[in-house]
Symmetry: C2
Subunit: 337 residues, 2 copies
C-alpha cells in the first residue's frame, strides 16, 4: 500500500502522528510519502496545490490528511478554494462519506439521543461547489452576484448507487435529503434518480425529507437515519450538525472517495487545524484514528477496520473526565488493538 | 386596521380561529376579509393564487395566515411554488422574520439549552428561491439541472439594515450566517454589505459564522445568538433547526415583512397544516397567537404585543403534561390578557 500523508497545519500534524501509529501497528510496511501542503507552505512560497502535487498524489493508493488552515495568517477561503476543493475535483472525490455514531461516553448535547448510527453520502464534485457563478458591478449599489448549483444525472447517479449499496449492507434504509419543493430542477433530478435506482435495491426502504425538516429530525429523532444521500451543500450542513449531536467533531471521521477506483481516495477528520490548541498535545486524535478505520475498510482490510473501531469505542467508554493527551490516546488505542 | 385572513388548510383553520380570538380581545373593530386560498380551493378549481387575489390582498394593511397544503391530495411543490412563494415575491416580503425563544415549559431536545432568545432575519425574495434555473435532456442519462442563487446589493442591503436595527433595539449583536469560503460571489456581497453598514450601528457587535458551523452552535450554544441575518435558503434551514431546539414548531411564529410598508406584511405560524391531526381540536394555536403578537408589534401596537407574549409565556409555563385542546388554549390566553 502506497500512502500519501498530508499532515497539514496546527493539530493536523499531531493527530496524524497518532493515526499513523495505529495504522503501523496493524499494517506493517506501508510505504509513506509526506506532502507539505497547507498554510505553512502557502505562507512560505504562495503555493496551495500545484499540478505536480496532484500528479504525484495520484501515484498513491490512498491519502491520509490531518487538517488544513491557519485563520490567523491565511485569509478565509484561500486554502479552501486553493487546495481542499481543487483536490476533491482533481481526484474526482464524488463520494464524501461521513459516518455519525454516538459512542458511549461521547458528550452529546441532546437529552434523549437514542441510538445514533448513520452515514451521510454527500456528493463531492457538483452542486454549489463548482465555482459556477459571477458578479457584476462589484462594490457599487448595483452589485449582483450569483452562485449556480450544477447537477448532472451522471454525477448524481453514481453517489445514489453508492448510497444504496451502503444502505443494503447496513440497516436497509436510505433517506434522500434535498429541497425538492423549491429547487425543482436539481431536486427533480435527485428524486427521479433515487426512484429509478430503487428497484435494483428492493430490500432498501427509501425515504425523503427536506433539508429544513432533516435538521429538525437530527435533533429530535436522529435514530431514524441509516444512510442519508444528499448534495454537496446540504451534505456540508447536515454532517456538521450530525457531528455536533454525536458529541462534537472530536470523533467525526470522513472519506473523500473516488468510487471508481481511478484516483486515490482520501481520509481525514472533519475537524480543522484548531490553532488555538495546536502544539499543546491536547488535541483528540480519535477522529483521525477513525479516519484510518475508514481507510482500512476502503482498501478491503475489514477486520483491521473493525479492530480500530472497537478499540476506539472501548477507549471512549473508559475515558471519564480526564483531559485528553494526544499521544496517550494513540498509545492506548494501539495497546487495545 | 384592514386585515386579510387566510386560514388555509388542516389545522390552519383551527389555529387561525384562536389567533383571531386573541386579536379581537385586544383590538376591537378590526375589519376582516377571509380569503379562500390553499389546497381546498386548488382541488376545487385548480387555482393557487390569481392576479385578482394579489390585487385584493394588497388593499389590506396586514395579513394573517394559518397554514397551507394537504400532502395527501396536492402534489408536493404545487402550493409552495403556486401560492406561498409567489405571494412573498408579489408583496415584496423581503424580511422573513423568525424569532426563537425558549419559553418555560417548552420541550427542548437539548440537555443544557441555556437562555435561547434570538431572531433570524431571513432574506425572502432572492437567493435560490427565485426560480432561476433550468434543465436539459430531462429523463436521459445526460440530464443536467441547475439552480441559481441571485443576490443583489439592493436586496441584501435592505435586510441587513433591518437586521442591524433589530439588533440595536435588542442585545446589540448581529451574526451573519453564510458560506463565504465557498460561495464567493454571494458571500462576498453579503459580507461587504454587513461591513459597510456596520459603522452606522456602532453599538452593534458583528459576528460571522458559516452555515455549517451555525448548525453546531445552534445545538451547543444557541444563547450566543441575538440577531442572525442570512439568505433565503440558509434562513429556511437555520430557522427550522432553531424552532426544534426551542421545543418544536408549536411555538414558532413568523412574519413576512415588506419593510418599506408598500405592501401588507403577512404573519403566520411556521408549522404546516398537519392533516394527520386536523379537525380533532388538538393543534396547539400558540404559534398562530404569537404571530398575532408579531403582527401587533409590526403595526405599532407594542403594548398589546407585549400582553400577548406575556400571556403565552404564562400559559406555557403552567400547562404541565395535559394534552393541548386548541380552543382552550385560546380561551386561557384571552382570559390572561
Ligand atoms: C472547508 C470547507 C470548504 C469544507 C466544505 O464546505 O466542504 C468543510 O466545511 C467540509 O465540510 O469539509
Ligand atoms: C414551504 C416552503 C416553500 C417554505 C420555504 O422553504 O421557505 C417553508 O419551508 C418555510 O420555511 O416557510
Amino acid at each position: 500500500m502506497k500512502l500519501a500523508v498530508i499532515p497539514g497545519d496546527g493539530i493536523g500534524v499531531e493527530v496524524t502522528a497518532e493515526a499513523l501509529k495505529v495504522l503501523d501497528a496493524l499494517v506493517p510496511g506501508v510505504e509513506k510519502t509526506e506532502y507539505d501542503l497547507g498554510a505553512r507552505r502557502y505562507l512560505r512560497n504562495g503555493e496551495t496545490l500545484t499540478d505536480s502535487d496532484i500528479a504525484s498524489l495520484k501515484e498513491h493508493d490512498v491519502i491520509l490528511l490531518g487538517a488544513i488552515g491557519d485563520p490567523r495568517s491565511v485569509p478565509a477561503g484561500v486554502l479552501e478554494r486553493g487546495m481542499l476543493l481543487p483536490l476533491r475535483f482533481a481526484l474526482d472525490h464524488h463520494v464524501n462519506l461521513r459516518p455519525s455514531k454516538l459512542y458511549p461516553g461521547s458528550a452529546t448535547p441532546l437529552k434523549n439521543p437514542g441510538e445514533i448510527d448513520f452515514v451521510v453520502v454527500r456528493e463531492g464534485t457538483e452542486g454549489l461547489y463548482t465555482g459556477n457563478g459571477g458578479a457584476i458591478r462589484v462594490g457599487t449599489p448595483h452589485e449582483m452576484g450569483t452562485e449556480t448549483s450544477v447537477n448532472t444525472r451522471y454525477g448524481v447517479e453514481r453517489v445514489v448507487r453508492d448510497a444504496f449499496a451502503r444502505a443494503a449492507a447496513r440497516r436497509g434504509k436510505l433517506t434522500l435529503v434535498h429541497k425538492t419543493n423549491v429547487l425543482v430542477n436539481a431536486g427533480g433530478l435527485w428524486q427521479r434518480t433515487v426512484d429509478e435506482v430503487a428497484p435494483e435495491f428492493s430490500d432498501v426502504e427509501v425515504d425523503y425529507c427536506h433539508i429544513d425538516a432533516a435538521t429538525i429530525y437530527m435533533v429530535t429523532d436522529p435514530a431514524r437515519f441509516d444512510v442519508i444521500v444528499t448534495d454537496n451543500l446540504f451534505g456540508d450542513i447536515i454532517t456538521d450538525l450530525a457531528a455536533a449531536v454525536t458529541g462534537g467533531i472530536g470523533t467525526a471521521a470522513s472519506g473523500n472517495i473516488d468510487a471508481s477506483g481511478t484516483n486515490p481516495s482520501m481520509f481525514e477528520p472533519v475537524h480543522g487545524s484548531a490553532p488555538d490548541i495546536a502544539g499543546q498535545g491536547k488535541a483528540d486524535p480519535t477522529a483521525a484514528i477513525l479516519s484510518v478505520a475508514l481507510l482500512l475498510r476502503h482498501v478491503g482490510k475489514t477486520a483491521e477496520a473493525d479492530r480500530v473501531e472497537a478499540a476506539v469505542e472501548a477507549d471512549l467508554g473508559s475515558r471519564g473526565e480526564a483531559p485528553v493527551v494526544t499521544s496517550e490516546v494513540g498509545d492506548r488505542i494501539v495497546a487495545a488493538l
